[in-house]
Amino acid sequence: MADEPERIVLTEEQKRKRRARSIAIALALGALVILFYIVTLVKGPGVLNQP
């Protein structure tokens, strides 16, 4: 049988920080979606019109 390939095993601290980064990215993307939605409501059909 072939040897098991070496894998990186994350420590608990690394897992915790990765989860925190993932949540932060999700929140930032969610905030962007909400921002684009509100700006579209505010500007109406001419959402890309410039001042």
Binding site: Q14, A24, I38
Partner: protein, 320 residues
């Protein structure tokens, strides 16, 4: 005048050379990459440019503009830390930043900075104004390429010319509201531009050893403390009329004029005392005091302009 040549990038192996297979960066480390204190100044001056502009901008669009400017400033901070990681590691003030301390890999900071820079410019252009977006893109380019990559390591005039990057936000705010550039935002630009040298040199007077160790040709390292104190006084004297210019040219009220003259006068007095004091503990304390007051100076002047702008807007609204 420039005795110190550009230093080698990553001259010796150390924490920076470590291979980061797994990121150990926390959310706070990414926030630190964005230099939140610099961001707050950028947002505040951009807000002033936005509010005093003679055009109505919907609060949501104004908020979007400020958000993009803040994120663009954060991107510039991250890219600055990515490029300067080697010299940051050599200075006490910056050695605990996320990259030199090994918490964020240089590549992660580069990707983070580039993503934020691109995103902030594109969103500002699509939703607010392409002129403002172009100015934001130029500001990030100027701060990273002209200041960080070029001037900072080769000339003691680095923060004089590089200071233009920090002076652009009120112009971007104005452009976001009006789609154009006027005399008023240029006066605000000049105010920040002339304020930057005495502000940074007052700080660098007490960090000379740090800058010398990192081989950064700051003025006190290259020309000495006496010449730096003389330059601080000259720039503080120049700042006095530049600060009062919005009132002298009729763009601000007498309250602003009185504030600018008084605050500018205090700057000159502090710079004068620093110049005549020479070296020693007392001079170090004076430099620290001048640095602290310079922050207050800029905040107060922009705050008065902001309040005058808000009041003028409210009175105009009531009259209409």
């Amino acid at each position: 005048m420039t005795d110190i040549s550009a230093v080698d990038r990553h001259p010796q192996p150390g924490p920076l050379a470590a291979i980061h297979l797994v990121s150990e960066a926390g959310v706070g480390d990414y926030l630190a990459l964005m230099k939140p204190r610099v961001m707050s100044l950028v947002v505040f001056t951009a807000l002033v440019g936005l509010v005093v502009a003679p055009a109505h901008i919907h609060p949501v669009i104004g908020f979007t503009a400020l958000l993009c400017i803040a994120v663009g400033a954060g991107a510039a901070g991250a890219l600055n830390m990515w490029f300067d990681a080697d010299i940051d590691a050599l200075m006490a003030r910056t050695s605990r930043r996320p990259i030199p301390s090994g918490r964020v890999a240089p590549g992660e900071a580069l990707a983070f900075g580039m993503t934020l820079a691109t995103g902030s410019v594109v969103v500002l252009g699509l939703l607010v104004s392409w002129l403002a977006a172009a100015l934001l893109a130029f500001t990030i380019f100027f701060y990273i390429v002209v200041y960080t990559m070029w001037l900072k390591r080769v000339t003691p005039q680095n923060i004089v010319i590089g200071g233009a990057a920090g002076a652009f936000p009120p112009v971007i705010g104005w452009a976001a509201a009006t789609g154009s550039i006027g005399i008023e935002p240029i006066l605000l630009f000049l105010l920040v531009f002339f304020w930057t040298p005495p502000h940074f040199w007052a700080l660098s007077l007490n960090r000379t050893q740090d800058y010398a160790r990192a081989r950064i040709p700051m003025l006190p390292v290259v020309a000495g403390a006496a010449e730096t104190r003389r330059q601080i006084l000259l720039y503080s004297l120049s700042l006095l009329p530049v600060g009062a210019a919005p009132w002298l040219l009729g763009y601000a009220d007498a309250i602003y004029g009185a504030t600018a003259l008084m605050a500018g006068g205090v700057m000159v007095v502090l710079a004068w005392r620093l110049w005549v004091e020479g070296s020693g503990q007392r001079a170090a304390r004076l430099a620290k005091r001048l640095f602290g007051f310079s922050i207050l100076y800029l905040f107060v002047l922009f705050a008065v302009i902001l309040i005058e702008g808000v009041l003028a807007g409210l009175l105009g609204h009531a009259a209409a």
